[in-house]
Each structure stands twice: as structure tokens, then as C-alpha cells.
Symmetry: C3
Subunit: 431 residues, 3 copies
């Protein structure tokens, strides 16, 4: 994953344009992504697909013609969606087009202006402070033209039409945690999903943030609302500091329940955010009328780590271990969803585990506790609780329960409840 991330890092992505295309084509080297092009001007809900932005070069040069701020050295130097410019101006005028961070003097900030035409440069505050008076040439060789918004989609069919949804975004230029960790982890999850049997169909999208999720929703909303039982927005999932969780708007969907179960047992120190802390595509997926069951399982959350949206969110911040941890957390959620069934014990009263070789035959002070998990699963397998409920109730992580359930099922003591569950408020439970 880290290698793929390093390969994608230098590309200058934005919400449209060749940077996105090149990123998606690189990912096509790993998974059979379908690229979709949506024309400029297409109406998507309240929005319109914008013109496509092409950037070839940009710099600020001093009176000696020396490039002192150069797009080629870091693509964060130019404000995203800057219009073309080629003028020589005074430092005073230039200051109106500069962006830097006084509190982080060595970081280049990430700034965009998608929906109003302007131009600008970003640089470290240290460099900005040292600019001598004088004339400067500002040069941006960019173009805003009718074109397309590009996204990638991968549908991995499963036994049923019920879907699990993964969404990540590919619109940020050279930053690592936010946001190349999401596309990279999504790519590896897709490979993992394709490698094994699955009940669910998986819908995985690589889109530009906001305008991309709106575009995708506007084309697929009915099908998504009908089929998706759980979704994960993959963002900021590559550093090795925290684990973080941001719920769906309701906070009680199957995706919330799965993620909270996994994080609660495996990473009990995870940071639990509120939907009020949202800031990515759950803003669209969970909006009124859309109401998809989408949560975010993250490492260090956007806006919450110092390097966020600066040049310091780089290949040092994201680590192989950080990516692997993020991948594992989401994979554990998917595995739980695949295994999450409503169970029913087949016996009235406790079964005789002993004659099935499941119980020690000498009853001593300690033997009671040895089969506690087994008896606890049976005690709560009442035909109304799914595996997440049972795991939460008996305080046992699901990966400890998978083999127990297999044993009990093999012994005929536990069956999947197939009766009507229409009274349950969580629609996806037990699917």
C-alpha cells in the first residue's frame, strides 16, 4: 500500500482533470476499476459539474527571473482552480494573492477556489516573510474549460443484491493521509474482497469529494437506498497515531454497530467523534432524503492533526503500519458484516455439551468458566439478536466468537434464524 501511495503522491489532483484520471488509471493497475466521465454543466442536485481545470506550470519569479515559488517543486504552491495569469506586480499587490500559515512557518497550506474565479499562490510563512520589496512576475499556465468530472467505480458481485458501500476521494494534490490513504486502503480492500467468497455485493467508488459524491448519488440514489446495508467513507486512514470513528447521522445503523463493535474491542482507545464533527462525504451520504448508513473509520481525523491540509501531510506522516492498521480495522468490519447473522439456539434449556465433547467432564471450581463463551452465545441466541448484539452483550470480541459459532453450528446447537425480522428497526441486521 505504501508503495502505491508513494507512486500516486506526486500527481497534481483536483476535483477534475488529468490528475484524477492518471490517479485512477494507476489504480486500475491493481483492480478492474471502471472510469466514468460526467460532462461539465451536468446538473447534480443543487450543483453543476464545473469546468475542467488543467495546470501545466506556475511560478513566482523575482526580478532576476529566478523561480522563487515553483509549482514543479510542490503542487500545493498554486491555489487549486487558479485562472491563468502572467503579470509583473509589486510585492504589495502580490501579498493579496499569497496564502501561508503564521503558526506553522514551514508548511505550505492547501488552498482551493473551486467556485469563484481567482488565482493565488501558497508558500511557507518563513519564505513569505523573507520576500524583499520589488517587482515579481506571477505566472500560471492553467486552463478552465468544458470537459468532464471523472470517477472510478467497482462493483464486486456477491451472493445477494444487498450491498456494502466503500467511498473514497481522489481530489487532493500531494498530501498523504488526507488524501491518498483512503484510495490506497480502498484498493487493497477491493483486492481482499475479490479474493474470497462473500454474501454481499460491494460498491466501491473513487470520486472527487463533495461534487463527486453528489454526482454519484444523483446517478444511483434509488438503487443505493434500496440495496446498501452499510457503508464506509475511507479517509485519513494511513498514519499510525489514533483510531477514530465518525458516526452516521442517526448513529445507529448497521455500519455504526459494526464499526463500534470492532473498534470497541480491538482499539478501545479509539476517538469517538460526533456527526457534528463531520467534514467529508458523509455530509452528502447522510443528508436528509439520502440517509445512507455510512460511517467513517479513520486513523487521525481530518482537521484534528497539525499537518492537516499542508505540505507536512506527507510520506513521513503516513506509514506502512498506519495503512495496515487502517486496512485491518475496515476489513474486520467487513468480515463482521459478512458473518453477522441472527442466531437461534435449537435446544430448550442448556444443551449437554459434554456428550458432544464440548465440556470437561470433571466439574471443579474452575471448569464453569471454560465454556462460558459457548454458553453465553447459546443463552442470547434467542432469534432476535444478531452477532453484533451478542458480542456486545457478552462482551466478547467477534473473532473469539467465530470459531465458537462454527462449533455450535456443526453440533446442531445453533441455527441461523430465517424467520421474518420485519419488526427489527435496523433493516440490515442479520442479512
Amino acid at each position: 500500500m505504501y508503495r502505491l501511495l508513494a507512486e500516486l503522491f506526486p500527481l497534481c489532483r483536483s476535483i477534475t482533470g488529468d490528475g484524477v484520471r492518471e490517479t485512477l488509471r494507476t489504480i486500475q493497475g491493481q483492480i478492474p476499476l471502471r472510469l466514468v466521465e460526467v460532462p461539465t454543466g451536468t446538473q447534480v442536485f443543487d450543483w453543476t459539474v464545473p469546468r475542467e481545470w488543467a495546470i501545466r506550470d506556475a511560478h513566482i519569479s523575482d526580478s532576476n527571473g529566478k523561480r522563487i515559488v515553483d509549482f514543479r517543486s510542490n503542487n500545493l504552491h498554486v491555489v487549486g482552480y487558479s485562472v491563468p495569469v502572467d503579470r509583473t506586480i509589486s510585492l504589495a499587490e502580490l501579498q493579496n494573492h499569497l496564502y501561508s500559515l503564521e503558526t506553522m512557518p514551514d508548511a505550505i497550506p492547501y488552498v482551493t477556489s473551486y467556485y469563484q474565479e481567482r488565482w493565488g499562490f501558497c508558500l511557507t510563512h518563513r519564505q513569505r516573510s523573507g520576500l524583499p520589496d520589488g517587482e515579481y512576475r506571477v505566472f500560471i499556465d492553467s486552463e478552465l474549460k468544458d470537459g468532464h468530472l471523472t470517477y472510478g467505480e467497482l462493483i464486486i458481485p456477491g451472493e445477494t443484491d444487498r450491498e456494502i458501500f466503500l467511498s473514497t476521494y481522489v481530489c487532493h494534490p500531494s498530501m498523504a493521509n488526507n488524501e491518498l490513504s483512503g484510495p490506497v486502503v480502498a484498493t487493497m480492500l477491493a483486492r481482499w474482497i475479490m479474493s474470497r467468497p462473500r454474501r454481499f455485493t460491494y460498491r466501491i467508488v473513487f470520486i472527487p469529494e463533495t461534487i463527486g459524491s453528489l454526482t454519484y448519488l444523483s446517478r444511483s440514489l434509488d438503487r443505493m437506498k434500496e440495496n446498501i446495508v452499510a457503508g464506509f467513507n475511507l479517509t485519513c486512514i494511513g498514519d499510525d497515531r489514533a483510531y477514530s470513528f465518525l458516526p452516521s447521522r442517526s448513529g445507529s445503523t448497521l455500519a455504526d454497530r459494526a464499526a463500534l463493535n470492532i473498534l470497541g474491542h480491538k482499539h478501545p482507545d479509539f476517538i469517538r467523534y460526533s456527526f457534528l464533527d463531520r467534514g467529508s462525504d458523509e455530509r452528502q451520504y447522510c443528508s436528509p432524503g439520502v440517509d445512507l448508513p455510512v460511517v467513517s473509520v479513520m486513523r487521525s481525523k481530518y482537521r484534528e492533526y497539525p499537518e492537516y491540509h499542508t505540505s507536512l501531510d506527507n510520506l513521513d506522516l503516513v506509514t506502512p503500519a498506519g495503512l495496515q492498521g487502517g486496512f485491518s480495522a475496515v476489513r474486520d468490519c467487513l468480515e463482521l458484516l459478512e458473518n453477522n447473522r441472527v442466531y437461534r439456539a435449537t435446544c430448550l434449556g442448556e444443551p449437554q455439551l459434554g456428550r458432544r465433547g464440548l465440556f470437561p467432564t470433571v466439574g471443579t471450581r474452575d471448569s464453569h468458566s471454560q465454556v462460558a463463551d459457548m454458553l453465553n452465545v447459546l443463552a442470547y441466541a434467542d432469534g432476535t439478536k444478531d452477532l453484533i448484539d451478542i458480542s456486545n452483550t457478552i462482551q466478547a470480541p467477534v473473532d473469539r466468537l467465530y470459531p465458537i459459532i462454527d462449533k455450535l453450528a456443526a453440533a446442531g446447537l445453533l441455527v441461523e434464524q430465517t424467520a421474518d425480522l420485519s419488526s427489527r428497526d435496523v433493516v440490515g441486521a442479520g442479512v
Copy 2:
């Protein structure tokens, strides 16, 4: 308000009689109150309207004819509803008819005997302790006779028949917080209500406590149960120490929700009492079978401040600022109720605030938070939540949300949900 309170202070009120009438007539100088007279002997639920009490003079005089306890100097000196007496008795016998507070030696306690015929005097414990042995003349020129129970009612019609109910009581003699603050604040609220457009009809009553609320309920219960969506018992609302809240019996009515929202945001240190701490007319309004949504928003609650029911609850305890604070808290509740609607966002996904001039066009690290309130309101405007729900959920005081809602509604992004809300458990919500 303080001037009106000072003007009403000297009148000798009781649950019936001319003190009540004179108080109500003074209030009629401010608002068009309708006075209603209910005859002695009228059955009101389990009770009977008592005889009317008139008191003209009362004193204890020593053997020199000197008035040592004099009703004219403080009307708390005579036990309320005392029968007439004119006798000369020993100190020992007199002691059986005296009431004082050993723990507050300079306070005259407030004592009544409405439903059993007796007579008595109240005095400071200091004075009582100093009474020399000897003969004393006790003189009470009072009368208990068939007459009426008097109350005042003001109906202020609004756009709809749905009502907000304000109740306060006018049966206490010369005490200030408990209880002239309530009638005075109610008077000013009535003036404020009449001065502005309103969705709700307002039912405002000035009654004697207990027997008055029972009398009023017995005459209007069906109409009240049908129309009242929220009610406030106005009592102890004039000192400048605490803010206090006493819930309805269920604790979850629209009145509870409005008051808790306002107090929680504006006066977060408010004291939250239980319905078990009740002691005023909510005992009737919230009784089984009556079940009106009535709460009390107070300053220092009856029974909880040292001067309660003594001569020390006077014009020093209640202050102009205290009255103004109480008035404002209830006014804020009424304003919230008037503005409380169930909203629905009109867009699928977030709207494009930028093209409506509602969003800064340069996206920097900080710009996300600037429109957070706007986006939060839209995110929760799902057609099931009223303004109180939204304010509570997004942790924003309603007066910060009023202009935001106006802007969003003006931009067509937010509409009032008018569909059937029959599934909501709080009947009054969103009316």
C-alpha cells in the same frame, strides 16, 4: 414591574376577598383582565369554594391598651382566615394562638387556616420571647361570610386555537417573591404578547393558589385539554439569585422541552428540580386525568430560600433585575414556541451555499467552520425534528438559529414540514 409590585405589596390578599379584587383591579390598569366571581359553596372537583374572608383590623394589646402586635403595620401578623375574636386572656392562653420562628427570630411567619375555623397571630420570635406575663387583649375584626372566589382571566387570540397557558396566583399577602413576582411578570408578559403577531392563543389566569386552579380547571378542563400545547406556572420569579426549573409530571412535554432548551443555553447553572419537589398549581395542572403540559420557570424556588413565607420576603429580596431576568426567561420560552416548527431541507445532498452568497469562496483550513450552523441546521432538517430538537442536537442556542433559519428559508433551502406528524409522541411539537 418593580413599581407595580411595590404598589400591590401592601394589599392584604387571601384566597378570597377584597384584597384579591383590589389586586386584580390594579392589574386591570395594565391589561384588559376579565374578573370572574364564583359563589361560595360551588363544588369544584373534590372541593367547595369557601366563604369569603374580610379583615378590617386586628391587634394584640397589653394591659395599657398599647397595640403590641398590629395588623395595620404588617398584614402577616394575623393568621389567614382567622375568625373574629375580642377577649382578654392570660399570656399562657395567648401562647396557644401565637406563631413564630425560633430559627429566624426577626421574621414574622406567614400562617393560614383556610379549612378549619381558628384564630391566631404571627410575630417575630424576638418579640414573642420578650412578652411579659400578664393579661392581653386579642382583637380580630374579621368576617367569614358567603361571597365569592375572584379570579382574573385574559385570552389573547392568535392565528390558531392552539393555546399557551400562563397561570399565576394572587392569594398571598405582603410577600414579594412568593408571591407578587408572578402576577407582575405575568402582567408584563401579557403586554409583550399583545404587542406582537402570534400563532398561538394565550390563556392567562390570575387566581388564588390551589382552590383557584381547581375552580378554573373545573370550569374549563375540556377546552384546556384540547387546546393547550404548553403552560407555565409563574411563581417566585423576582429575586436575582438562581434560575430554577420544575418539570411537568411526565417531564417530556413541549413546555418542558422549550424551558430546558432556553435555560440550558442561557442559564446553564439553573437548578433542575424534580416533580417530587412540586408545591404550587402544577399539583393540579399535572394531576392524573388533568395532565396539562405545565412547568415552572422560576428564580429562587418556594421553600428553597430562607425568607420564604416570612416577612423577610420583601421589597429588598425582589429586585428590578431579578424580575427582568425572570420575565426574559419566560419570554424566551414563548418566543421559542412561536418559532418552533418542523423543518425539512429542500435539497438532496448539501446545497451549494456559495452561489447564493452564503459561503466564502476560498476554502482554507478555517472556512469549514464558518458555515457550520447553517449546514448543521440543514443536516438535521429531515422533516421529523422541530427547532428544539435541532437546537439541542447541534448544541446551538435558538436565538443564534433564528437568523440562520430566516436566511435558509429565504434562499428556498428550508421549508416548514406540513405533512402529518401523527407519529410524534409530543403532540404539541411543531404546531
Copy 3:
């Protein structure tokens, strides 16, 4: 109770056999218990009634023929359900058949092997450590033969068919808290129940643990599910250390509510266990599909006190005061259930307590609180709350409310709600 317990203590009980029969016959001296014999081989749900175990003698003797471990001195010395043996073996081989507790060197542990044929001896670790090398004769004169499982049942009819269920077990050899306290307290409860009028029918069973409750359930489940409104598993209820509570699986049955109310008010320091801590017959009574409302009200819970399942759980551990405390706690629960009705106030508004002699006629600062209980009961008697609800809400112990309810009912102010209560989720409430 302590005398009965001491009388039963020496008997060598197991899950079947003459020890159980003799125990039940001794109890028949106190209450008219019906003994039921269920044949070996009878299928009870997933289990089969085992062969009957008879033990006449058992010892380990040294090479001098001296009995160094003797069943006659303590029946814990032989592993329960040991098959017969008469051999002379080396110490090394003997060690494979010995059980002791290194951490409690003076305690003989209690060990059984019901469902796999083996033999063994239990002894103190101190004695085991001192065994010299050499030859030992091991002798167990026991028999495993077709016979019966024996249990005792007492049905005490009441006004209605609705039942309260008490279950206790008689399968443990010479141990006192676990388990002779249960049978002894159950016996005294039965005498107390028979001595007084009762709404409920009482079903009281004295059974072997696990196989006994399964056997009993398999014969009576439909009737029990139809009639039982609350049940108590009586175990470990005789020492004088803690009070303990273990809930039903759902945690919200009438039995849970009654026990939590009594323990919460009378023994607020009681230890509240989770259903995950279960270990007695609630494992059967609360299993999926059985779902009886059974809880355990205990003193020091099994597995939680050091002497548990050893020879130190003896007549010193259980005390007359401990048994009396356990008896009283359960008796209070039964009394509460007998008195638990849904009440409705007959008046609209508060009634006039004064004219019924229920209220002091002089209203002073303090008089409000004197009748608080009375007014609180009336305020919450809204036809939906039972006595447990009211007691919990107004934070008053039920034995303080019994006389108040009697007074209010005598005055006609309170009646039992007889209307349909089908909407309540707790089926047994108010019966």
C-alpha cells in the same frame, strides 16, 4: 431454619439417590411436599436422566490398614458419582485420582463427575502433601444403577391461577451456604405463604440442579410459561455477609422489578451481578424458548466467596441471622408482589385531604412535607403505574406505602385500575 439446616447437613446428597430422598423426607416434616420419581433414561430436552448413584462407604487406607481419608468423616472426600473401586496402588498412581486446593490447604474441595465414569478422592492439600511414598488401598463401595431422579414439589393454591415460582436445589453434599440455605429458606417461605391469604398460586420445587430443573421444565413448561409471573431461584442465601442479586436474562421482568425495589430500599449496598455471572438454574429457566421471569436473591453468591465448593462452606459460615436476612428479603419480594397493583386516583386535581382528617389544618412552613407521600402516591396513580413504579418514582420504600395506600383506598381516593392493561410490556404487572 438453622436447626433444620444442621439436621440436613450430614446427609450425602447428589443429583440422584437416597441422600436426596432423605433430605426431601426430612423437609416433608415441615411442609406437605410431594415427592416425584423420574426413571433413569427419561429424555429431558437435550439430556437423559442418569443412573442413580448409591454410596455406602469409601476410604483410602495406608499399608497398616488405617483409614487416612474416610468418607464417613466427610462425604466431600469422595468424588461425586465415583464408580466402585477396591485396589491397592502406589502413591504415584493414587495422585491421578486425588483432588485438593493448593491455595486453600485446609479445605476439602467438592468435585463431581456426573457424566463420565471415573473415581477419585478429595482431601486437604495439607494432608495430600504429607502422604508418604508407599502402597495405598483405595476402596469405594458405590453403585451406579438404573433408578430415579427424585424431586419435591409443593403447589400452594391462591385466589388466581397466576403463579409465583420458587426453585431450590438439594443435590449438594455437606455444604451449608451452597447448598442447604436454599432448601431451608424455601421451606420456611412455604410455611409463611401457607399461613396467610394470597392472590397468587405458589409453585415451589426442591430439585437437583441442572438435570432437575431441566427435568421439571420438560414436564411443566407450557403451564409454567402460561402462569408464572415471577420466580426466584433460592441459592446461597444463608451467610451474613452480602446481599446479592442476579437478574433474569432480560433484566426487566416483574421478578427483577420486585427484587430491585426491595433490595434497593432495604439493602442499598447489595451487589448487583449481571446475567453473565449466572451459574445456577436460571441458566435453564431463562434460556431462549423457556424465558421464565426468574431471578436470584442471594446473600454471598456462589463462586464469589472463598469457602465456595469446599468443606469450609460449613455450619460456621451460615448463621441464623444470615438465614433470617435471606428469608426476609425474599418474603419482602413476595409481599410486594401480592400488594402490587395498578392504582388510579379517583379525583381530578388533588383531593381535599383535610376534610377527611388526612391533612393538618394549619398551613405552616413545614406542613407541606408531612403528607408528601400521600400526595405523591395520588400524583402518580394515573392508571398506568403499578406500586413498584410508584415506589421507584417517589423514592419511598413500599412498606412505608402500604399503610398510605390503605388509608387512601379507605377514603375512596384510590382504586385499583381494572381496565385493560394490554399495552404494558411487563405482562405480570398489576396482576
